[in-house]
Each structure stands twice: as C-alpha cells, then as structure tokens.
C-alpha cells in the first residue's frame, strides 16, 4: 500500500469546476492526503520543514493544479524552489525522495487543440519531469482534464461530451486507487504520452 500526497495549488479554487470535481472524487482513504497549498500558505510563507516531513511520510507525490501560462500557479513554483533543497531532494547523498512516484494532474480551461505540436503537454511539463528525475523519483505521465471554460459555458460537442467530466472524475479516482495499491508499472507507462491513454485503452479493450 502506498501513501498518496496530493499537493494542490489553485489561487481561485472557488471558481474552478474541474478541480472541485476531481478533488471531490478522490478516494476517501487514510492513504490519501490532500494538501491545499493556497489555503495553507496565503502569505507564501512556506514551512519547509513541515513540507519535507510530509514528503517523507508519503510514497506518491501528485501535483494537482491548473495550467497557468503553460506552467503551474506561482505558489507551487515557490514550493518547489524552497522545499526541494539541494542536499535534501537532489545532489550528493540526497535520497529523501528517491523512488517515490511523481505524477502531475493538470486541469486546463482550454481544449486538447490548445496543446498540439510543439505545445504538446509533455513538452510543456518537461521542467517537472526533469525535476522528478533530478530527485531520483519515478516519473509517471501526467493526467490531463481539459475543457474547463467550455463546460462552464455549456458548449458541448462530440469532442467534449456532457459526461466527459464524470468520466474524468471516475478515471482520476481509479488512478489514485491504482497508485495506492501499487497497480501501476512505471515501465509499462512509458508508452503513454499522458495517463489518460491508459484509460482510453482499457475502455477500448473492454
């Protein structure tokens, strides 16, 4: 059994339909810790010791955040800058995060179409991938939920069906359950650009 830490960063969570839905769908388990960064550190005064202790007591680190200017919101970046210290997370003798799983769960107001070609999601998330690798973590492909703005506007089509969000929430729940029960093989995941493909394939195979 793995313990999952969801590091959640959203400056205006109160208006985020996608994040509210996804977080509500998190398994209600003692193995899952939801850590709401903007609620804990509205002054950006991050308690580094406390954050490092949290990391150490978990096996899977999930970055849960919206895509802001092709990256994460500012407080999560601040968190990375301060908490992932040299000598602790990376560098000689730094083993605190070694072999822990790292996965991003990204929400976007835009469509899949906004993340094509050079702007594909894996390219954009390279800084996070490099970070995880530098910390000797096991990087897993990101899980993406699109269409926040269209869903709010009620503008659905064949690419964005009305049950899309429900499906995403259930997949996300499944993903976290799988992480808890160690049912995910990082090697096998290397074939996916995003973790969503894993579910698309299972759906197809069913």
């Amino acid at each position: 059994m793995n313990k999952v830490l969801v590091l959640f960063a959203h400056p205006v969570y109160q208006t985020s339909l996608l994040n509210k839905s996804l977080l509500a769908g998190l398994p209600n388990s003692e193995h899952v810790t939801l850590h709401d960064l903007y609620e804990t550190y509205p002054n950006f005064m991050i308690n580094v010791a406390r954050e490092q202790a949290l990391l150490e007591s978990h096996d899977v680190i999930v970055f849960q955040h919206p895509m802001y200017w092709y990256s994460c919101p500012a407080l999560l970046k601040e968190w990375m800058d301060l908490v992932l210290e040299h000598g602790y997370a990376y560098g000689t003798g730094a083993t605190a995060l070694k072999d822990k799983y790292f996965i991003s769960s990204i929400t976007s107001g835009g469509d899949v179409g906004n993340y094509e070609g050079e702007k594909n999601i894996r390219n954009l998330l390279q800084p996070f991938e490099f970070t995880a690798n530098l910390c000797n973590m096991k990087f897993l492909p990101p899980f993406i939920t699109y269409g926040g703005l269209k869903i709010k506007a009620g503008n659905f089509d064949q690419n964005l069906t009305t049950d899309y969000l429900t499906q995403q929430v259930s997949n996300f729940n499944q993903l976290i359950e799988d992480l808890i029960h160690d049912r995910i093989d990082p090697q096998a995941c290397e074939q996916y650009a995003t973790m969503n493909e894993r579910f698309d394939l299972t759906e197809v195979s069913q």
């Binding site: 109160q14 208006t15 903007y38 509205p42 107001g109 179409g113 709010k152 506007a153």
Partner: protein
C-alpha cells in the same frame, strides 16, 4: 458689601496671577495659593483697618467658610477610592504607605519628645501630620514627566493613596489627643451636638447607627434620586443635588458629634462604585478647587512672617531635618519594596516633603487645642518650605541621579558600541517602537533608541540595546544619539503631538534622513501626509485589517482570497488617505467644521468610497477573472 468685593478681588486676583506661575515652575498649585495668600495677608494688614475690619477676625471667618472646601475634598477622595480597585492593590498600598506613615510618624514623635520636650500627644499629632506628603505636587510632576507608569511612580502613587485614606483616621484621632477638654473650640467643628445629653454608653451605638444610615442612604436612596434628576436633564439641579448631598451628610454627622469630613468620606467611598461617580466628581470638583484654594490662601495669609525672621535658623534646620528624615524612611521602605536603584531614587526623593493635608490637620489640631498655635505657625512654614524645595529634588533626580545611573550602566554594558553609530534611531520604544526595534535587532541591525521611561530603558539595556533617556524632541539628545550619522529614523512615540513636532523638526533640519512615522489615527496620517512624509504607519491599520481577513475566512472565504481582499482594501484605503489629506485641511483652514463633525464627515467620505469600489469590483479579483475568457474561448472554437 464693598469690603467683601475688595477682599474677594484681592484673593482671587492674587490667585490668578500666582497659581499659574507656581504651576509653570512645577511648584504645584498649593504653593501658589499659599504664596498668594501670604501676599494678601501682608496687603490686608494695611487695607483691613481702612475697611473698618480686623485682619485676624476676617481671616478666621474666611477660614471657616473655606473649611467646607476640605469637606468637599474628602468627599472627592472618597469618590476616587473605589474599594474593589483598592483591594487589588492592597499589598503594595499597605507596604508602601503603611510602613512609611507609621515609621515617619513615630520618628517625628520621638524627635518632638526628646529634642523639643513636647508631650507624647502633641508629638503624635505632629508626627501623623508631617508623615503625609503632597499628592498634588507629586502626581502632577509624575504625570508631566511621564513617570506615572514606571515602577517608582507606581510605588509613589500607592504610598500617596494610603496617605489619602490615612487622613480620615488621623482626623478622627487628633481630637482625642487634646489634653484639656475644657477649651476645645468645638463650635468650629460641630456647634450643636444633640448627643450631648445622652448617656455615655449610648453614644457609640448612635455613631454606629449613623454610619449605617449613611451607608443605606448612599447605597439605596441616592441612585434612584439621581436617576430622577438626571432624567430632568437640568445640569444645575444635578450640581445642586451633589452639593446638597454633601452638606446634608456633613450636617447630620456634626449633629451627632462626629467629624463631618468622616461622614462625607464614607458617603464618597460608597458612591465611588455607582454609575454617577464621574458626574458627581465633575460637579463637585470646581467648588472643591475654589474653596480649597481659598482655604490655602487663608493659611498663607495667616503665615507669621515675623516668626520667620526670628526663628530663621530653627525653621531652616527643621525643614532640612524633615526632608532628610522623610527621605531616609522612604529609602528604607523602598528597600523593603525591593525597588531598583533608579526607581528607588524617584520614590524617596518624590515623597520627602510635607503635604497640603498638614495645613488642614494643623488647623484642626489648633482648633481642638491639641497643638499650641505658635508651634503650628512654625510648622506650617516648615511644610510650605519643604513643598517649595520638592521641584529641586525632582530636578536633582532627573538631571543628576538619572543621568549618572544611566551613564554608569551603559559604561559597563555597552562600552564597545559607544563609538559605533547605528544607522537607525528609534524614538519611543513603547508598545509600537519596541516591535520595530526588536525586528531589527533580531536581524542583527543594532538600533539606537530614545525613550523617557527609565524602567523600560533599564530592561532594554540589559539586552544590549543602546538606549538614551529623555524626550526625543530635544535637539541635544538627538545629537548625542548620533542623528548626524543615522540614515533612518523611526518615530514611534505615544503622543501624536510629539510625533508631529519631531517629524516637522527633522524634515526641516535633517532633510536627508528617511523617516518612518507612526500615526495614531487617520487624522494624524493626514497631517503627516501633508508634511510630505512618505512612510506613514497607521497604528491599528494592519492588525485590524488582518482581523478582518480572518473573519472573512471564518465566513467561508478561501484563505488566499481573503488575503487578497485585505490587501486590496488596504491599497484602496491608502490611496484614499492621500486623496482626502488635502481636502481635510482645506476645510479645516476655513474653520467651519468642528473637530467631531470633521471626523464624521471624514468617515462618510471613506464609506462612500468603499461603496464606489464595491460597485465596480464586487467580489472579484481581476487577476483571475475568467468571464471574458469563457466568452472568448468557451463558446467559440478559436485557436
């Protein structure tokens, strides 16, 4: 009638000239009245015969009238006592005051008996009378120098409080010390005594019943009565009722042969916990002040100046002796209270004089045939002289002892950073400036601090602060503190007037100094703004806004949203201060608006601004407003 007008004008005119002068010289108003009285006394010896009067007779009559002032004073003392408040301070009051009064009284009694061969009764009366110090002089000096909240100031206050209360039993005891009951001038104090014909065993019962009656009257009858009067909204009837209450109780007490002062004191104590306390005090205060003033002037007028000439050496020795004796006793009491040396010095120098009560008690003692009038005459002059010397003692404390103790302290502790000038000077290290200083020290920036609380300075010095004692608005002190090499100055004194004064001075004479200024409220902020100060810190602005932020969170707002709401509100408000500062003074200069009206107007402007802001931004944070995005990206298939 003409004579009365002439005499009244003489007394009042002299008082008007001399009392403010005495006050300016820190001599206290009592001494002013005494000197005014003495001058009137000399003038009267020439004027009174012209008006067809005898000076001594005239003074005696005036004295009787003004004794009502003493009664009123005791009523006001009673009002100020508040038993619940007193109870909390009981140990300090008892140890500071009890020891001081009893030891001083006994020592003076011993001196009277051994050196001057007086009887023990006379010795005790003199001892008790001289053990009291001058509340009026000490309290006003402590207040003026800002020392009333220092440890030494508080100990002095406790001792004075004890003395004020001790006056009551002393008044009760002095008549009992009369050796010859034959010639007691009883008519002065009471006149008619209806208990005179009662059997002796019944008298104590009558007295106890009377006190119980006063208690019941004050406790259960007066509040409803005042409620009734207050509802009529007739200010002068309230005053009349207050005075009437005092006269009624005084009359009642005289009738049964008790001291009227004692009766009104008890009534005052009982009423001190009533909601009418402040109103009563305010109503009685002018009468008390005026009549007491007349009382002290009659004492002054009765000064026997020929005596002063004859007994010059004796009076001088007695005065010095009295001060030395009182100071030594206070020194011992201070040791018992474990006062530190600076506080200790203040305590034993401040209280080392005779007090205004001495004049009251000497008059009583002479009237009751306890003390010979000639002794009382001499001692009155001694007390007056000792009071006149008090400001010199305060000066000795402030300019010599305090300075010496402060420099010897800093020599041991901070010898190394004496030459090193700090970049920041903090003026006023009370509850505000202290935090600024601590934050800087915490980050290894040494500060130079200025303050006028010796106790605070002592504590801060222990922890390595470089602290100068004194008023930060003094130029020489600013130079000693190194203002010429400082780059920034934190102005954080308590008194907004001092803050403005110092700020104005520094802007004019040290224009390159960066100022950080504490503003007590919005109005002060306006003034500072107008002076061109850039860094203004409104006292409660940060903490109250933070409290608001937390209440928003309590109401369910997200922490970060509440934080931004607070910051945005503060930004708006700061901008508003800048904008309103100008119009605030424009109106002020016209002189059309009263201060209070101005404040309300000001609040109205602030509130209307808030409404305006609310209308155009509602609850949104423009940084993450996505309404236009939804319109753009959400509905059309762009990009």
């Amino acid at each position: 009638m003409t004579a009365a007008f002439v005499i009244a004008s003489l007394f009042l005119g002299m008082a008007v000239i001399l009392v403010p002068l005495a006050h300016r010289l820190n001599l206290g108003s009592v001494l002013g009245y005494l000197i005014a009285g003495a001058i009137v006394g000399i003038v009267l010896t020439y004027v009174a015969p012209m008006l067809g009067m005898e000076t001594t007779h005239l003074l005696e009559q005036l004295n009787h009238a003004s004794e009502f002032g003493v009664v009123l004073m005791l009523f006001v003392i009673g009002l100020e006592i508040r038993p619940s408040h007193l109870w909390r301070m009981k140990s300090t009051i008892l140890s500071a005051g009890g020891l001081q009064v009893s030891i001083t009284a006994l020592l003076i009694m011993a001196v009277s008996m051994l050196v001057f061969h007086l009887t023990w009764q006379v010795g005790l009366a003199i001892g008790l009378t001289l053990s009291l110090s001058s509340t009026a002089i000490i309290m006003s000096t402590l207040k003026e120098k800002g020392w009333q909240n220092t440890v030494g100031g508080k100990a002095s206050f406790a001792a004075l409080l004890f003395q004020d209360i001790a006056v009551i039993p002393i008044i009760a005891v002095i008549p009992l010390l009369a050796v010859s009951s034959v010639a007691s001038h009883n008519e002065i104090a009471h006149g008619i005594d209806i208990t005179a014909y009662l059997p002796t065993w019944l008298k104590p019962i009558v007295v106890i019943l009377a006190i119980v009656l006063v208690y019941i009257l004050s406790r259960y009858l007066i509040n409803p009565l005042f409620d009734y009067i207050a509802r009529a909204r007739q200010k002068e009837i309230f005053t009349t009722a207050a005075l009437g209450l005092v006269t009624t109780i005084a009359a009642f007490m005289s009738l049964i042969g008790l001291s009227p002062a004692l009766g009104v004191f008890i009534a005052g104590v009982i009423l001190s916990e009533s909601e009418y306390r402040h109103e009563l005090e305010a109503d009685i205060e002018p009468f008390k002040g005026l009549l007491l003033g007349v009382f002290f002037m009659t004492v002054g007028a009765a000064f026997n100046f020929s005596l002063f000439g004859e007994q010059f050496m004796l009076i001088g020795l007695l005065t010095v002796g009295l001060i030395l004796l009182k100071a030594s006793v206070l020194y011992l009491v201070g040791k018992v209270l474990r006062l530190k040396k600076i506080e200790h010095a203040l305590f034993f120098l401040a209280l080392a004089q005779g007090g205004e009560f001495a004049f009251v008690l000497f008059t009583l003692a002479v009237g009751q045939n306890v003390i010979d009038p000639s002794i009382a005459d001499t001692l009155r002059i001694v007390v007056a002289l000792s009071m006149a010397i008090t400001p010199l003692l305060f000066l000795l404390y402030e300019k010599v002892l305090l300075k010496k103790m402060m420099t010897t302290d800093s020599d041991d502790r901070a010898a190394d950073d004496i030459d090193e000038e700090n970049k920041i000077i903090v003026a006023g290290v009370g509850r505000f400036g202290q935090i600024v200083g601590r934050l800087l020290q915490y980050n290894q920036f040494n500060v130079t601090a200025l303050d006028n609380d010796p106790n605070m300075i002592d504590t801060l010095r222990k922890y390595g602060w470089k602290v100068f004692f004194g008023d930060a608005t003094r130029m020489d002190l600013l130079h000693a503190a190194g203002i010429d090499s400082a780059t920034g100055m934190v102005i954080a004194m308590n008194d907004p007037d001092k803050v403005l004064e110092l700020t104005a001075y520094l802007i004019k004479h040290h224009p390159n100094l960066t100022l950080f200024v504490r503003a007590r409220d919005r109005t002060v902020a306006y003034q500072l703004h107008r002076m061109g100060v850039k860094n203004i810190y409104r006292e409660t602005f940060e903490s109250s806004a933070t409290m608001g932020e937390d209440v928003l969170k309590h109401l369910g707002m997200r922490a970060y949203q509440a934080k931004r709401a607070k910051l945005r509100y503060q930004q708006e408000d700061e901008a508003l201060v800048a904008q309103l500062a100008e119009s605030f003074f424009a109106e002020d200069e016209k002189g059309h608006l009263l201060k209070v009206q101005q404040q309300l107007d000001n609040l109205a402007k602030v509130l209307s601004n808030d409404q305006h802001v609310k209308q155009h931004s509602m609850n949104k944070d423009s940084g993450w407003d996505e309404s236009s995005l939804i319109e753009d990206l959400g509905s059309k298939n762009k990009y």
